[in-house]
């Protein structure tokens, strides 16, 4: 969730992490440097300590040897028997607990030697050394002026000091004292420096381990390690330093001091832990405070968000109060201002929505509410739908401004009427249409009052205008209890006044046209073909010469599941308007062809006429479909008559003529349906590629009584014949017509008198009966 709080918090977190990281890095690098410095310091110190310790021992030995050499007691027995000498020597040795004590005579022979030997059980024992009576190996030391030396006896290494024993200037010999360089020294040193210490000596170019502070059995490994370290090769896990003590002779002793880096760094590591814990704690504390800071910043914003939601829900009563003087506080104030402004604007919009902008009268929305209220209360009332007459004329002649003025005046008068009477409500639906709701007054009074109010002329800029209103009236509960229906009824009544020219029309049920049903049909029609609700009826056409049925006209019927049989007049028009005529015509065509073949098997040779809509003529693939279907059904084209209404050709004569010519060429029969109703000119008729004219039933139905119709029909027949066309008459409802038409040369007749349209099977039965020699029709013929 990317809320502000989270963002601020995240920002803080990042900031803190960055600061912590910098601090940590600084500390880390500082510590690293410190670590290195400390290690270096430690090692340097260790080395210094060692040198100091070693030199101290030397100096100590030197001082002691000098002192002992001057001891008279020693001098006294110096050249005496060995026993006396050794006792005196040991006496001195004990004073400094030396590991080695020696006397050397003036002629360079070791006259006495005491050596400490360590026993297994930690005790030690002073024994006479092995070199007693042998020549001293380093007589060159006597004149060297140097008093400290490294001295080896067998495997043992000593740090010795040599001092001459003199009487006056006469040298009696030398006395030497020494400390052994052994594990004790190494351990002592380790205890001081915390570093492991190894002593190695070079014998004949080979290093040898003298002593080590570690009691490790693996002395060879220790030696290898020490050897490498003395060459300055220090493995990464160690820290080490070394020192070389070289005698002027071949003696070379190395001291190696080392420690595991890990051990040493352990102390620093502990610091790290402390620091890490501290860092974690500060991080936790700062994050917590960051969270609260973020929350404190976003809390008022959240309140504003909540307030915005309240406003969005339409509640303008609550205000938000923040005691902040900062931007958010200002925002809250602006919020409240905005809320007020929105409220005002919404009210303006509401007013605008509920009132007509021109007259300021309540509009349709208000009407709905009022009607709802009335119907809920079962209030009896009269609804008048008023229409200001001739407004269009005013608009056209004087302009819309004047028209608006007229509307305003009209509204004004009605409003005045409302105020002075018990007329309850006046609603302006828009333009020139108003609705007036009246209670407790009889209809005549109302109408009279309205007409009285409109009686005087309206003078506008010197023009005298007559205000006249037509009224459609519906009353509740007499006509309906439903508000919507009531309005529609009044509307229907008003519509009726236009047709009748009356000024006032009260609703009657017979004014209704099934407009609602019609709308439903549009939807239902889509389902009709797949649902098999459509049915094809056929009406026979009689050859007036032979009085034999030679043709049939296919007529579609719709068996609606709820409405029952729907007549074609009701739905064909809908099909044309909604584009469903294409599918409908094709269904009719294929079904009719199938029926043709069925009859053919029964030996009924009939020409089938199929109605083609104007819309069909606009289809690009219509010609192809018709021809293809004909071929599929194996029906000869001359057995099919395409009936086209006069008007459909009139709409788009060129393409229609082109298409019809194509059909004619293909062999179809083309018939002009409803001839005489489409205002087609003779010039057009001349061009049309047709075979026959079908005289509209309106001319035929009253043929017996209307002489005009007789003239028209006779003329038409003559005209058609003169143009080489056949004539079909439809709407034959009596014998007179049939005979009259036969008399006047009409080729084919169709009508209820012969047969009404019938389902195919019914017609088949009828047709088969007709084929029998004695048929009722022949009787009719005789009557003519």
């Amino acid at each position: 969730m990317r809320s502000l709080q989270n963002k601020i918090f995240l920002f803080f977190v990042l900031l803190l992490l960055m600061v912590q990281a910098i601090a940590f890095w600084t500390l880390y690098s500082g510590n690293k440097n410190q670590e290195a410095a400390e290690i270096n310091n430690r090692l340097t110190t260790a080395k210094t300590i060692f040198t100091e310790l070693f030199e101290r021992r030397s100096e100590y030995l030197v001082a002691f040897a000098e002192t002992a050499a001057k001891d008279y007691g020693l001098k006294e027995v110096f050249n005496d028997d060995t026993r006396s000498l050794l006792v005196a020597l040991n006496n001195h040795r004990k004073r400094i607990d030396a590991d080695l004590a020696m006397t050397i005579s003036a002629d360079g022979v070791v006259t006495g030697q005491l050596q400490r030997h360590f026993l297994d059980d930690e005790r030690n024992k002073i024994q006479q050394g092995v070199e007693s009576g042998t020549a001293f190996r380093f007589t060159q030391w006597f004149d060297s002026g140097q008093s400290s030396h490294l001295y080896t006896i067998d495997e043992d290494l000593y740090q010795v000091s040599l001092s001459p024993v003199t009487v006056g200037t006469k040298t009696l010999g030398w006395v030497a004292f020494g400390f052994q360089i052994d594990q004790r020294l190494a351990i002592e040193f380790m205890n001081i420096t915390n570093l492991s210490t190894d002593f190695i000596v070079k014998d004949n170019g080979q290093w040898r381990l003298i002593a080590s502070s570690t009691n490790d059995e693996e002395s060879s490994e220790e030696l290898a390690l020490a050897e490498r370290m003395i060459q300055g090769i220090i493995p990464e896990k160690y820290i080490a330093t070394h020192s070389l003590i070289t005698e002027f002779d071949e003696q070379e002793v190395g001291v190696v001091m080392y420690g595991l880096r890990a051990n040493f760094v352990a102390l620093l590591q502990e610091q790290w832990w402390r620091f890490l814990i501290l860092a974690a704690l500060t991080l936790f504390v700062s994050l917590t405070s960051a969270y609260f800071i973020a929350a404190s910043i976003s809390r008022p914003i959240k309140r504003l968000v909540a307030q915005a939601k309240v406003i969005a829900s339409g509640d303008y009563q609550q205000t938000v109060t923040l005691n902040d003087n900062n931007e958010i506080g200002q925002l809250a104030d602006e919020f409240n201002h905005m809320q007020t402004a929105v409220l005002q604007r919404e009210e303006a919009i509401k007013h605008h929505g509920n009132h007509d902008s021109l007259t300021g009268l309540p509009n349709r929305n208000v009407l709905k509410k009022i009607l709802k209220k009335y119907t809920e209360q079962q209030q009896a009332f009269v609804l008048l739908h008023l229409n200001l007459s001739r407004l269009k004329d005013v608009n056209d002649t004087l302009g819309h401004d004047v028209g608006d003025e007229v509307i305003k005046e009209f509204a004004c008068r009605l409003q005045l009427l409302c105020e002075t009477n018990q007329f309850k409500n006046l609603v302006h639906l828009g333009a020139d249409e108003f609705i007036l709701l009246v209670t407790d007054l009889d209809l005549d009074t109302i109408v009279a009052k309205i007409q009285a109010a409109l009686e005087s002329t309206f003078d506008y800029q010197g023009i005298s205008l007559q205000l006249q209103a037509r009224m459609g009236i519906a009353a509740s509960p007499e006509h309906s209890n439903d508000a919507k229906t009531l309005v529609q009824m009044a509307d229907t009544a008003l519509h009726h006044t236009r047709d009748t020219g009356k000024l006032v029309q009260v609703y009657q049920s017979d004014l209704d046209v099934n407009t609602v049903e019609r709308l439903n049909l549009i939807n239902d029609l889509k389902q009709a073909i797949p649902a098999g609700e459509l049915e094809l009826h056929f009406q026979p056409k009689m050859n007036l010469k032979s009085r034999v049925i030679t043709h049939v006209e296919a007529l579609v019927r719709w068996q609606h599941p709820h409405l029952g049989m729907v007549p074609p007049d009701d739905f064909i028009h809908i099909a044309e308007q909604t584009g469903q005529i294409k599918a409908l015509t094709r269904w009719v065509f294929t079904t009719a062809l199938a029926q043709f073949n069925t009859w053919k098997t029964l030996d009924l040779e009939l020409n089938v006429a199929i109605n083609i809509s104007a819309e069909n003529l606009k289809e690009a693939d219509f010609h192809q479909f018709i021809c293809q279907s004909l071929m599929n059904a194996n029906v000869p084209p001359e057995k099919v008559t395409l009936e086209v209404t006069e008007s459909s050709v009139v709409d788009n004569p060129e393409s229609a003529i082109k298409l019809l010519s194509a059909f004619k060429e293909h062999g179809f029969k083309i018939s002009i349906d409803d001839y005489g109703t489409g205002y087609s000119s003779l010039a057009q008729l001349k061009q049309l590629p047709v075979h026959e004219l079908k005289i509209d039933k309106s001319f035929v139905q009253r043929l017996e009584h209307d002489l005009d119709d007789q003239i028209i029909v006779r003329s038409t027949i003559e005209l058609a014949h003169n143009m080489g066309l056949y004539v079909v008459a439809e709407g034959i409802e009596d014998e007179f017509s049939l005979n009259w038409l036969a008399e006047h040369g009409c080729e084919l007749a169709q009508g209820y008198y012969i047969s009404k349209p019938k389902p195919a099977n019914e017609l088949t039965t009828w047709l088969l009966e007709q084929k029998k020699p004695k048929a009722p029709i022949t009787n009719n013929e005789t009557n003519t």
Binding site: K70, Y72, K75, E76, F78, N79, V165, T166, V167, G168, T169, K170, L172, G173
Partner: protein
């Protein structure tokens, strides 16, 4: 009196004493005594060397009257004075402490071991030297003090004078072993030896093969002067 003037004074006295002390078996001038034998000791560079011990041991069994001269070895100025003394066996040797402090004179490391304390102004004659010996002496209290006593078995002994000469008035002529000795002489047993028949007016000369080692100054390394200030 300061330290330097004391030293000067003492040296003067020493010189006087030495010329006076060796009179009996020695002749100062070869011309004055017909039997006077002259021995010259020179350094390797031909310089006259003084205070080297020269003695003659009879080889023909000459009977010689012993020279039991009374020998005094002073401890003076915290030094043995003289540095080198020589005497015949069984002579009396007196150690005289002329300093204002106590000394602890000793000798060690040889047959002639002795040791005694000698207080200021005292004389010690307790040590007898009845064998020829080369006695190195020191003071246990003052390490720098060093002195030598050569005990010889002949009455003919002397120390060369500043010109490097030693004179002997030989009564019994004959064959002698002539020895020149000094503790700082770099030669075997710190000595040079000639065997020769000694005739009247015989003259012998010794030339050292090596340079002499330094004669100890018998002075403290430290500037330890406060005792002097009490004088």
């Amino acid at each position: 009196m300061n330290n330097k003037s004391i030293k000067l004074f003492l040296l003067l006295g020493l010189a006087l004493l030495s010329t006076k002390g060796y009179s009996e078996n020695r002749c100062n001038d070869a011309s004055s005594n017909k039997n006077c034998v002259q021995i010259l000791v020179e350094s390797n560079t031909g310089q006259a060397l003084k205070d080297l011990v020269v003695y003659l041991e009879p080889l023909d069994g000459q009977l010689l009257e012993p020279n039991l001269e009374h020998l005094v070895i002073n401890q003076e100025g915290r030094a043995f004075s003289p540095y080198i003394s020589v005497s015949q066996v069984n002579s009396d040797v007196n150690f005289v402490n002329k300093d204002d402090i106590t000394h602890h004179i000793y000798s060690a490391g040889s047959e002639n071991k002795f040791s005694f304390k000698i207080k200021s102004g005292e004389t010690n004659a307790s040590v007898e030297f009845n064998q020829p010996a080369e006695v190195a002496m020191g003071c246990n209290i003052h390490d720098w003090m060093s002195g030598y006593l050569l005990v010889v078995n002949t009455p003919y002994f002397a120390k060369t004078n500043t010109q490097g000469y030693a004179y002997f008035d030989i009564t019994e002529l004959g064959k002698y072993k002539i020895v020149v000795w000094h503790p700082q002489m770099k030669s075997t047993d710190n000595r040079m030896i000639q065997e020769a028949s000694v005739l009247p007016h015989s003259q012998f000369s010794f030339k050292l093969k090596n340079e002499m080692a330094g004669i100890p100054l018998q002075e403290s390394d430290d500037d330890f002067d406060f005792l002097s200030d009490y004088e």
